[in-house]
Each structure stands twice: as C-alpha cells, then as structure tokens.
Amino acid sequence: MSNRNCLRIVATLLAVLLTSLISFTPCAVAGQSTTAFSSNQAQQATRNSPTPPPSGNFYEDFNFLSLEKSHMLALTPALVGKSDLPNSPFIREHIHLTWRLQDSVDLYIAIPKGVSKPPVVLYLYSYPETAARFQNDPWTLNTTSRGYASVGFVSFLTADRIPVGRLASEWFVSDLQESLVTSVHDVQMILNYLASRGDLDMDRVGMFGVGSGGTIGILASAVDPRIKALEVFNPWGDWPSWLAKSTVVAKEQREKLLTPEFMGNVAPYDPIRWLPKVKAENVCIQNVRSDSTVPVESQEKIEAVAPDVAEILQFGDYDALVKVETATGVFDWLKLVLQPDKKYPLDPDKSKRVHNYPAMGQKYDPMAAHP
C-alpha cells in the first residue's frame, strides 16, 4: 500500500470519528437558493440537512463562497513526500490536507532554494486535468524560476479527487455549484495553511487558473483579499452560453444541464457576477478564441465585466499566444506583478489594457478557390 493511500485511510477514519461533530449547512439561507444541488438526491438530502450546526463544531456552508458562514476544521497536514535533490534548484513537498468528510486536497509545494520567504503562486488547472504536472520537473522549474514558490492542486470532483460513494454520473459540471464552491473554500483553506507554514511571503500571493481553475480563481479572489494578483486563462463562465456551447459538455449531457433549475442553481456563481468584485490588485485575463472549451461569446462577456485593474489578452489561436509569450512564458506576468517594492504599471486608458493578437494559423475555407 502506498503512503498516500495509507494516509488517506487514516484521514478517512479520523474523519469518520469526527462525524458526530460534523453537520452540514442548512440549504435555506436568507437571500440564497434553497436548492443547493441538482443531482444525487439521496446524498443531497444528507448534505442539506436542516439541522443547525452545533456551535463550535465543523460545518461547511455551500451557499457562500467565503468561509464566513462555515466553520472548517482542518486535520493536521500530512507530509506525503519531499524531494530535495542536490542539483535541483527547488524543494518539492507533497502535503495531504483534510478539512471535510471523504475528501482531501493534495498540495504540491515547490520552494526555490536559497530564497527566504518567497512570494507564492497557486496553480489550479482545469477539470479534468490531474496533478501530474506538479510533480513534473520542467513545469516546476518554470514556475519556481526567479525565486517564486509554486503551489499546485486540483479542484473538487476532478481527476482522482472523487469522494467515495460518488456516482460516475456526478461530475464537475453536473454538480457545478458544489464543485465551484467547495474549490473556492479549498483555496481559502490552502491560504490558511500556507500562512501557517511561515516560510512563504503571504503578502505577495498570486493565483494562476486555467478553465474551471480560472473560474475558481475569480470567485476566490472576490472573497479573499490575500490573493494580490490573479491570472486566468480561458476561464469558464457566462453559464447559459457556456453550458450550451462548450465542448467540455458532451451533447448527451447538455440537455440535462440547460434546465431553468440548473441555471438557477449556478447563476449565483457565474464569474460574470464576481469578476467586477475581485480583490486582487492586478488581474490578467487571457482568452484564446480558437479554444472550443469556452465559446467566444462567453469569452467576450467575461472580458466586458473585467475590473479596472485588469489587462486583457485576446489571442486568435494558440500559435498567436506562443508567438507573444511562448508556451513556458505564460507564468511570467504573475512573477512580474508580484515583484517586491515595484508597482506594476497599469495603463490608465482601459482600451490600452486590451491586447488583441490575431490568429496565426491560416484560417480559410478550404472550399474556396482562392485565398
């Protein structure tokens, strides 16, 4: 049995022991939807138990993005592995964090050697991508270069982070509200943990989110001011269009999601609503028009509500992106804005903060006779 599995079992047992202390949030909260989740009604009934939380015990309110209505109890972090090779410029730790039943977060922290309290960037990629890249040396070298710590993790209901008992039909988008809110809570709990370590500069925290990770980054930044800089890449959002057209949603699944009930449930967590409220001091939104996971109209609507502190990069396709910042240069912006004692220059003219890079791929209609 691997250390990781062993720790998971221990964590689960501990969590079970804590069951008597744990209760779930009431679904009816003033001003919030009373229908918290749309699938697996049996589990919903348990999750949405109307029993009020005993004072001082653990509970999680899935109707609020912030933790102010929740009372999360984190188990002691478990160090699963640590890599400190002599010729490596970084030390990498794998930490197992648990703060809810039958779920835990695997955190991959890479800290550049010889740097005291480095600024830190959280990396959250899109559903359904795994955490493998966080254990990948080329990726870690890129993200930790120039003295920055990187922290990678995956969101709820993503890759192998599927709580026991979940049905195969329950996936990130079918349970979108839960996936987003749980992951936003995770971001805040991770920041709590990182602050507790004492070896990172928590005044210079950035977050890099891709796809669903970008959405979670926007929502988290709207409720947690510790995220000073936010860079999102093709963030999902504008749910009506996204659910109708994104290639993330298979044709046979789409019909079930395009219901008024589902739309009503996820509407409060649309980044369109939250992007104007982000607390990050610098925001960068990068959209690739050719990426079919986010419809162009959704990209445009998200860009339209960007806050004044945002820069917007519009790429016609990935080649345009690579030409501008290279595939490995996508991490540079956060490092730039998190530099100590330097104010990132932001053009006061909003129009100059929007950069458009036309597609480099030769798009043409192959039926046409002439270019």
Binding site: E129, W139, V210, A327, G361, Q362, A368
Partner: protein, 730 residues
C-alpha cells in the same frame, strides 16, 4: 429503475439476442478501405503479435480473392440501393477454425473514400450500413495470395491431394478444354478454381499439360472444369487421359463463408485520410463545377463515373454523411471515432526506362521540388526538364515530353497529394484537375470523346501503353478528354497547335484508377518518362524494377538520404518469404522513414481506423480479444516489426504492453471541416496531467501544417490540456 423501463430494456436485450447472427463466442470484424494499408492490416490478422506474443488475432488461416472488375468474387455493397454500383475489390479473410470458426476477420481494399462511404452509409431503417458480399464460388476457389508476404490456405497446405482421375476432354474454344470424369462422377473438392493440375496420357499431346490452373468450377466436388491446353489441343473421349491436382484448400470454408454472410456489415474502415477530409473531398468531387473557372474547387463528377485512361476501370462518386442523417435514406448515423494507426508516406515515382540526358530514368534525376511537381500536375509544365535542372540538356532528343499520371480524385492518395503538393496554402488555386474540371467540354461532355473512351481495354494490360492521343486534331480542343483524363500539358489553350511552349514536347496528363493501375502504368516498358505517386508499401513496390522514386525537396521519405538506400538510390527493398510461414526476410533491411520521422518530408498522411463509438478503442491483456482496439494494436506492432509499410503511431514497448512507444513524433495540425471541430488528439503518456483527458482527435488533417508532437505537449503542460495547435495549413 421503473418496472416499465426495466421491461423495455429486457425486451430490447431479448430481441438483440434473438436476432444476433453470430452465435455466442463467434465474432466477425470486417473492414473496408485503403488499398495501401491492405497488406499491413491483413498481416496483423494472421500473425502472432511480435511484441506481446499474443496469438494471431483472427486465427492463422487465410484466404484472399478479388479484383477491380465487376466479376470480382468480393464486392462492397451500398445498402441504399437506387442504382448505386457495387464496389469490386481485393479481399483478405482470416479465421481461426475451418469448421467451427469463432473469430473471422476480413478486409476489402476498396480505397479510402469508398471504404468510408460503405462504413458510414445507412440504408433504410434496420438495413444497416454497407456490407461485404462474397460470391458463392469462394467456397470452391483457391486463395489468390492477394496479400504480399502472406501464404493463403495455410491450414490445408499439408493436406494430401486427390488421387488421379481418368478424364474425357472436350475442346470448347481455342485451346480451352473442358474435363469431365471419364464414365461420369464428381471430381474431389481439391478441384477448385485456381487449383493447379497436371494432365497426362491423352493421345492428343497438346492436351497434356503440367502446372496449369483450372477454372469453370461451379460447385464443391465439381462435375467438370476447364483448362488451357497448348496449340493443337483437341477433344479426347478415349478415357486414357488422367488428371492430378496439387493439394490445396478448396476455398473459403463453408462455415467461414456462412458466418460472414450472416454478419456482413463493415465494422470499421481504414483510410488514408480522416473521415472529415474524406467527406469534404467526396463532396468536392460531386459538386457542380463552374466551367468558366479553371481553378474551380469543385469537379462536377456528381452524376458520372470517374474513368481510367488505361482501362475501363471506373470510380463512382456517391453522396454520404458522417454525422446527422444519411443524405439518401434519412437514417441516423451513429457516432464515430477515427483512431490514428500510423503515418504513411506518399512516394514520388517515375518510370526509369529512359536513361538519356533528359529522361526520368537518368541517375542524375534524384529530387523534385513540391512546386515543380504541382506545376506538372496542373498541366503548366510539359517537359521532363521542368521537373529538375538535372534534366535540362541540349543533347539530341531533348527536351522530352513529361507524362504525369494522376489517380482518381475520389482516392485518399489523390487527396493527400492534392492538399500537400498541388493545392497547399501557398498554391490555393492549384489542382491536379486544373484545365480539366474547369475547361468547357471536358468532363462536362464525355460524349465528345465517346469512341476513344469505348476503345480503352477492358482491363489494364500487363505492360500498359500510353492511351492514344485524341484525334483529330492533336491539340487541345473540345475533343480532348477530361474524363477519362487525357489532356496535353503545358498550358495549351484551345486551338493551340502541338508546337506549344516546348515545341510539341508536352506530354499528356492521364489518369489511372486504383493504386494497382498507377504502379503498373509507371512500371511498364512502354511508358517512358511517366510520373506518378502512391503510398509506400513493400507489397506495392517490391520487385518493381522499372519504377524509381525521387526525394521531395531533398528529403528522402524512406532512408537517411538517397545514397544511403542499401538497395541503391531510388530502388525498392527486395524482401522474400511469407510472414505467416516464418520465412519473411529482407537481407538489406527495411525503410527507416527518416524523412517522415525527421519532419522534413511534406507528403504523408495519417492512416486512420474508423469505428463506431465515442471513445478511443483500447486493448487489454492478454490482447487476444477480437476488438477494434486490439486490431489496431496488432497492426501497429506488426508494422513496427515485420512488414514496415508505415510508421505506427504507437506500438507496445514491451511484452506486457505496460507502456507504448510514440513512434511518429510529428503530427498534422487539425482543422474544422465537414462540420466537425478540430482536435489534434495528441494524448501524452501517463503520468502527464493531460493523459487521457485531451479531447479525442477530430476534424481534418490532410492539409494541416506539420508540427512536433512535443509542441502540443508543452502547451498542454503549461497552458492546459485543451490548448493545441489547430487550424494551421501546410
């Protein structure tokens, strides 16, 4: 589940069980498509996996037949009827047991787009998609060894032959004799069409022959057969003649034949071009042309066959769809997935018999640029010197006419060539059908050359000659034939005499139907300075002594360089033996495809396996299940080890296949076409974050720009798994 739903499911399952033709434990997989992949896929059916050691996927028994004429024993049938022609083609069948088969596989080499059409087309409700039809004579016709390096009828190879029969002989025509058992009775099952006999004892010496094959067999244990005697053959009713037959299998075993007949529908297609590209090209071929625009994209073959200039071979364009509903029947089309099997190179070939200073056979002619080729095939260059400065000469007899031979536009070969050489992004107005489809009275008016069309030989001669010039007169006018293609090159216009830009040295552009015709034309002693192309395969080119290949833009598709070819510059590998007998050998090795895996060769395409479903087919240990996933794996392992006709996309890295090796480090950028959004489908190996989560490969690829696979991997690793280099054109 509600009771009503449960009942409905049970009912559907019961109906499915009752109507299933293959009994429990019996499986049939039938493929149709690329003739270039015919050999590799067939070999994979009947040979144990050389890497995993898994038993031959379909069993070790083999039989083959077929041809391109309507009399072929094997044809593909379009279920939509309505006058759609059957598609005659070579067929390979493999099975595991003669009398109680549990696994049967077949491959009908109808070419890519036809194969895809037969796979995708849906007949009226419950009719199903296209199917394989084998003539009953298959049961008493010996295998034709249609697949190079595979021995047919292996299961009967050691059977004892029949004893000798006394025969009566009747001369039926010329030297053809019909034999019956003297005194009446049946011959044994060994007397099958194609069987080899020896006749002795006839008082007519010309009736006595040895090693000739027989025909005219119409049943197992026939009552008669025919064979050819020599000059002077005559009837002999004396009964003194006897016949013996060489031991053989009588043909396709009845149990195998019946199992296919009960499960005839194609379950997969193998194609040189992806389904999205194939449909696009098919529609381009069918759509009405604009006769006033010589660069028109459409070809206007919608209501006519595409004819060969060398035989009466014909390819029929028929509409179909890959998504939504069938355009003819209206029946819904199931979802499909096209899986990359490998990458195959298109060879630029030439007849090598003219070794003069400006002949294509001159050893100095080793390379051609893509644009020079494009101009030749557009009819804009007419002499050999236009292909290469090495052929520019003032020697007597120079310049010489160049004879570009093209394939039918409905083939994957033509299509690959068109979008990578003749009509790439940098030459968007180009086409091999330039000055044909757009020229008034060309393929719009086949009646103009009707007599010439009718005079073509019914089948391709063994040693073909160029088709005669359309006469009169010998210049490009309404009497030139666009279909079959036979038009003078070098940008001649109406009423321009033969003394054109090259003083009459412009050759004609012509067309051959099927890969077999193309290679036979170029390999002839009568077709000096003919130029052609075709996907590489050992079976296609091995032993073709009058065909050379040249490099393209100085990239050798097969070897590290032209001079590194161990068989000599421009020559083909010489291999012998049979893979399924364990005797296959290539003393000097097989191609290493350096130009392809090095990224420098521009004319290649992905070989795809198309199957129904929404997920990429997989294969699980012990790799013996007759599934499409295991079929693909077996083909890739085979081609990596035995007959190296293409570069497998992946192959098993070890006997447990715990990992796979990516053998093709380049890909073509995919693009939106035929209504399908593009995804490159570059799936990194575990444990990469994007392993098995990148979108499944989709969209067109034949016209895509070439990139290293790593460029997509790097994007995925840093920017996210949905990032990819799509919509780039070569």
């Amino acid at each position: 589940m509600k009771n009503s739903k449960l009942l409905a499911v049970c009912f559907v399952m019961a109906v499915a069980l009752l109507t299933a033709s293959a009994s429990y434990g019996q499986q049939v997989l039938l493929g149709a498509g690329s003739s270039g992949a015919f050999g590799s896929i067939s070999i994979a059916m009947v040979t144990p996996d050389p890497i995993t050691g898994a038993a031959a996927l379909c069993g070790s028994n083999a039989w083959s037949t077929g041809g391109s004429t309507p009399s072929s024993l094997s044809v593909g049938v379009d279920t939509r009827g309505g006058g759609i022609h059957n598609e005659p083609a070579n067929l390979f069948v493999a099975w595991d047991n003669d009398t109680a088969p549990t696994k049967v596989c077949g491959y009908l080499a109808v070419d890519s787009i036809v194969g895809e059409r037969l796979f995708f087309e849906q007949g009226p409700t419950t009719t199903g998609n296209g199917y394989l039809q084998i003539g009953a004579a298959a049961e008493y016709t010996v295998g034709a060894n249609k697949v190079s390096f595979v021995q047919d009828n292996l299961s009967c190879a050691t059977s004892t032959g029949a004893t000798s029969f006394p025969i009566a002989l009747s001369l039926v025509s010329g030297t053809t004799l019909q034999a019956t058992v003297f005194g009446g009775g049946n011959f044994s099952n060994y007397f099958a069409n194609g069987a080899t006999i020896t006749v002795t004892g006839s008082p007519v010496a010309a009736d006595n022959v040895s090693g000739v094959t027989i025909s005219g067999v119409t049943q197992l244990s026939p009552l008669s057969f025919t064979y050819s005697g020599t000059a002077g053959a005559a009837s002999d009713a004396s009964g003194s003649a006897t016949v013996t037959v060489t031991p053989n299998c009588p043909g396709l075993p009845a149990a195998v034949y019946n199992l296919i007949a009960a499960n005839p529908h194609f379950t997969m297609a193998f194609s040189d071009i992806r389904p999205e590209d194939a449909l696009f090209q098919s529609q381009r071929v069918i759509a009405a042309l604009n006769p006033n625009d010589p660069t028109t994209t459409n070809m206007g073959y919608g209501n006519k066959g595409i004819l060969s200039a060398y035989s009466q071979g014909v390819a029929y364009p028929v509409n179909y769809a890959i998504t939504g509903t069938d355009p003819i029947s209206g029946t819904g089309i199931p979802p499909y997935v096209a899986t990359a099997v490998g990458a195959q190179v298109l060879m630029q070939i030439a007849n090598n018999t003219d070794t003069s200073a400006c002949g294509l056979g001159n050893a100095a002619f080793t390379n051609v640029s893509w644009y020079a080729l494009a101009r030749a095939y557009e009819g804009l260059a007419g002499a050999t010197q236009d292909l290469s400065p090495a052929l520019l000469s003032s020697a007597a007899g120079c310049p010489k006419p160049l004879w570009p031979v093209e394939r039918e536009p409905l083939s994957g070969t033509y299509t690959t060539r068109e979008w990578q050489i003749d009509r790439p992004y940098a030459n968007r107005a180009g086409s091999q059908e330039n000055y044909n489809v757009g020229y008034p009275q060309s393929n719009n008016n086949p009646a103009a050359c009707a007599a010439w069309v009718a005079a073509r030989p019914s089948t391709l001669p063994t040693n073909p000659t160029f088709p005669p010039a359309v006469a009169p007169p010998l210049y490009y006018d309404s009497n030139n034939c666009g279909n079959p293609l036979d038009i003078q090159t070098a940008n001649y216009t109406t009423a321009t005499p033969t003394a054109g830009p090259y003083g009459g040295y412009g050759g004609n552009r012509t067309r051959g139907i099927t890969n077999g015709e193309m290679v036979s034309i170029i390999n002839s002693t009568n077709t000096a300075n003919s130029l052609g192309y075709g996907f590489y395969s050992l079976g296609t080119y091995g032993g073709k002594t009058r065909v050379k290949y040249v490099t393209l833009d100085n990239a050798d598709p097969l070897w590290p360089s032209y001079v590194d070819n161990p068989y000599g510059p421009g020559n083909w590998p010489a291999c012998t033996g049979k893979v399924n007998l364990g005797t296959f050998t290539c003393p000097l090795g097989q191609p290493t495809f350096d130009g392809l895996v090095g990224g420098g060769y521009r004319n290649w395409n992905e070989l795809s396996a198309v199957s129904y479903g929404s997920a990429v087919p997989t294969c699980a240990s012990p790799f013996t299940a007759l599934t499409i996933g295991c079929f693909i794996q077996a083909a890739q392992d085979q081609v990596h080890t035995y007959v190296k006709d293409f570069v497998p996309y992946l192959y098993c890295a070890n006997s447990s296949c715990s990992s796979q090796t990516l053998a093709m480090p380049f890909f073509r950028s995919h693009y939106a076409v035929s209504g399908v959004l593009p995804h490159d489908g570059n799936n990194p190996a575990a444990p990469a974050s994007c392993h098995n989560v990148v979108p499944i490969e989709a969209g067109g690829s034949m016209a895509g720009q070439i990139f290293p696979v790593q460029s997509d991997y790097t994007l995925q690793n840093n920017v996210g798994c949905s990032s990819e280099l799509t919509n780039f054109f070569q």
